[in-house]
Symmetry: C3
Subunit: 283 residues, 3 copies
C-alpha cells in the first residue's frame, strides 16, 4: 500500500469527485444501480468506481480487509461507500470516518475496525436528528444503501455537507476481534482469509512490517513452501509463498489454483517459523 500516490496527469487540477462502492449486493438485481442513481442525483459529476459487490453476503471481515488495503490508491477526497449490513433498519449506527483526506461511510458493525483503529482517523456517528433535518429521516427499513448511504456519499462528494455537522466524534465504534495472527518470538501463526479468483490464498499475515520476512520458513499443512518474488519464478504447478501486491503473505500455485491444490479453506492455519526453529516433537 503506497504512502502516497503520485499524480502527474495533465488533467490533475480540476479534480472530479470520486465515490468508491464496496458491498455484498451482487450484480443480479439493480441494487447497485439504484445506489449510483442517488449518488448522481446529488453529485452529477461523480466518478463512480466499483470495488466489488460480490462479497459473500454479510462478509464484514472481508469488506474490512479490502477497504483498508485499497483506499490509499484513490485520489484524496474520495468517498468510500461500504455497505455490508445485516443489521439494516435496526438501531445500529452509521459511521463516517476520515483519514488522510479520504472519507468512509459504513454501518457500525466492525467493517471499519481497521480504518477506525488508525491513530489519524476521526470517526463520527451520524446523528439521527441531523438525518431528519437533511430530509433523510424516513428510509425504507431494508435498503439503507439506496436511501441513506447513497445520498450521504453524494452530498459529501459534492461538497454540500461537511462531516462536522453530521454527528459527534465517537470512540466506541464496533471492533472486530481476533483477526490478527498469533505472534511469538519463533513463530507467527495466521490463517487463510479467502481465495481470490485465481485460487491464490490470501492470509492475514502482513509482511510489510516484518524485517527480512524471507528468512522465515513458511509452513502450510505441515509442509514447507518456498518463497518467490513473482509467479513466473517457479515451475508450473509449484506451490509458492510470496508477499502479494496487498502486502500480505499469499500462497499461490504457479499457473494453477492453490485453493484447489491444497484444499485449504478460509480459517486454515498458515505458519511462519524463524530459521532453525523446528517444531518441538509432538508439536
Amino acid at each position: 500500500v503506497p504512502e502516497e500516490v503520485p499524480v502527474t496527469g495533465a488533467a490533475g487540477d480540476a479534480r472530479r469527485p470520486v465515490v468508491s462502492l464496496l458491498t455484498d449486493f451482487g450484480a443480479a438485481e439493480p441494487f447497485v444501480g439504484l445506489v449510483k442513481a442517488r449518488i448522481l442525483a446529488e453529485c452529477p459529476d461523480a466518478a463512480l468506481v466499483d470495488l466489488t459487490h460480490e462479497l459473500p453476503a454479510y462478509a464484514i471481515e472481508a469488506a474490512g480487509f479490502w477497504i483498508e488495503r485499497v483506499h490509499a490508491y484513490f485520489p484524496s477526497g474520495t468517498v468510500h461507500l461500504c455497505v455490508v449490513d445485516p443489521g439494516v433498519g435496526t438501531a445500529r449506527r452509521i459511521l463516517l470516518a476520515e483519514r488522510g483526506g479520504q472519507r468512509f461511510l459504513a454501518p457500525d458493525n466492525g467493517l471499519l475496525s481497521s480504518i477506525a483503529g488508525h491513530p489519524e482517523t476521526a470517526v463520527r456517528a451520524i446523528d439521527p436528528g441531523w438525518l431528519e433535518l437533511a430530509g433523510l429521516g424516513r428510509p425504507s427499513p431494508t435498503f439503507h444503501g439506496r436511501d441513506l448511504f447513497a445520498p450521504l456519499a453524494g452530498r459529501l462528494a459534492a461538497g454540500g455537507i461537511s462531516p462536522e455537522q453530521m454527528g459527534p466524534v465517537v470512540t466506541d465504534w464496533q471492533r472486530l476481534d481476533g483477526d490478527g495472527p498469533e505472534r511469538g518470538p519463533f513463530m507467527i501463526r495466521g490463517r487463510v482469509l479467502f481465495a481470490d479468483r485465481f485460487g491464490n490464498l490470501f492470509s492475514n499475515i502482513e509482511l510489510e512490517s516484518l524485517m527480512d520476512y524471507w528468512t522465515w520458513g513458511v509452513h502450510v499443512g505441515g509442509a514447507p513452501v518456498p518463497w518467490v518474488r513473482t509467479y513466473g519464478e517457479a515451475a508450473a504447478g509449484s506451490l509458492v509463498a510470496l508477499q502479494n501486491s496487498f502486502g500480505v503473505l499469499e500462497i499461490a500455485c504457479v499457473a494453477g489454483s492453490a485453493a484447489a491444490l491444497t484444499e485449504l479453506k478460509p480459517g486454515a492455519s498458515i505458519e511462519l517459523r524463524r530459521p532453525g526453529s523446528a517444531p518441538r516433537p509432538g508439536y
Copy 2:
C-alpha cells in the same frame, strides 16, 4: 418508490446526462461495453449506470418489474436502455416511452407493459424511415443493442434528437398478460417472481396500495408467516414477511435464505388472507 427524489447537491445545476442500462447480456462477453462505447460516441459526458445485465436470458417480465420499480430514483431526463430482445432482427418494433421526464427505449415485446400502461406515459414506435435518415438503417440483424438502442440512447441523452421526430404515438404496444395477483374480498393470491441474491423471495403483491396490509395474514405453502418491519426484528433462521424496499410483499429468512429454506420457485403461490378468514375445510 418515491414520488420525487429531492436533489440538494452543490453540483446540481450543470446536470450531466444519465443513461441507465438493463439487459440480459451478461458480463462474460463485451456486449455491454460495446453499447457503452456507442453511447459515449454520441454523448461523451453521459454518466452510464448499470442496472443489471444478469437477467436470465429472455426474462422480459423481470426486466419490466425492475424498470417500473427503479426509474423514479433517477434524475429527470435519464434515458433508460432496456434490451431483453429475443425477437432481435425481426419485424418487432422499437418503442420510446416518456413519463415524468424519463425516457425508455425497449423492444415492443411486453417489457414496457407496466411503464406504458401508466396514464401519463406517451409511447412512440420508432419509424424505420426515420432510422434510415438518421444513418441507422442497416444494423446487424442480431445486435440491435449496439447498433440501434445505443446510438438512439446516446443521441437522446445528448439532446441531438427529440422524441417527436422519431415516430408516431401508438397505443397498440405489446402487453404482458396475467402478471397481477388474483384479488378477492377475503384473499389475495399472488406468486413468487424471483429470489434475489440473498434468497429473499420477491412477490407480485404490491402492498403500497393495500390499507393496513399488516392486518392480513400471510400464508406460504399453507403455513402462516409473521410480519416484520425489517430483518433484525426476528430471530436468525425465522421466516418472515415484510413490505420490501420496492413496495412488494417479500418472504425472507433472517440471516439466511428463504429460497433455500422454503424451496419455493418462481411461480409458487403466496396468499394474503383477511383476519378471521380461515380457509374453508378442504380448501
Copy 3:
C-alpha cells in the same frame, strides 16, 4: 466491424477521454476498481468502459479476439487496457500499439497478435528506463495492472505523455500461432472459439471476406446446418448458422443454447464446404 463510426451527438466537440478495460481479473475482488482508481488519479475526466473482466484466467486468445473485434466501435483516441498476463513480473515486455487513432496497452504475450499484425499498426515496446524516469520503476511484482498499465493508460488518456517517448518501435512482438482456419479450394475448416452466455458458438471463421458465403454448406459434427440471417427466422429449438454481429460464423439454437444442444466444446471442428463438394467416402 465498421470502418468508421459516425458521431453526430450535440456534445461531440468537447470529447472526453475514453479508456476501455479488458482483463481476466473477475468481479469478486477489487482488482478492477484499483485499476480504475489509478486511471482516474491520472485522468479525472476519463470515461471508463468495462469490456469484460470475466475472461477465463490466462485466456490470451479470447482477449485478442475481442479487442480486434470491438475496438472500432470506440471513439478515436480511446486507450484500450488489455491485461491477461500470466507472465506478470517476469522479463516479458509491455507493448503499446497504435492503429487508426486508437491506443492499445498489453503484455507482449500474443494478446495483441491480431491488432499488431495489421499493416497500419505501429507497435512499441515500453522502455524500462523510461518507466523508471516516469516514476513507475518499482511496481509490485504481481499486479502490473494496477501499478503500470493503469497509470500508463491514464497518462495517455490525459495527454500527458506521447507514445514516441515511451519506447522504440518493434517488430518482434509475440505472435499467436495456429489461430486461423485451414483454407482449401473446396473446404474451410475452422473451430469453435467459445460459447457466449446465450450458448451461441463463436467460430474462428471470418465471413466478411468470403464472397457469397451463404452458398457454402455449413457442417457441424458431420451434419449440415442451415443458414439464417437472424435468430427469429427459424423455429424454436432449430440449430442455425449465421454471420454474427462480429463478422464470424456462429452456430446458434433458436430460443435455446447451441452449446447445450450440440455439446461442442472450444476447439471442436466446424466446416464450410463449397456446393457440390461432398466429402470423399471415408473422409
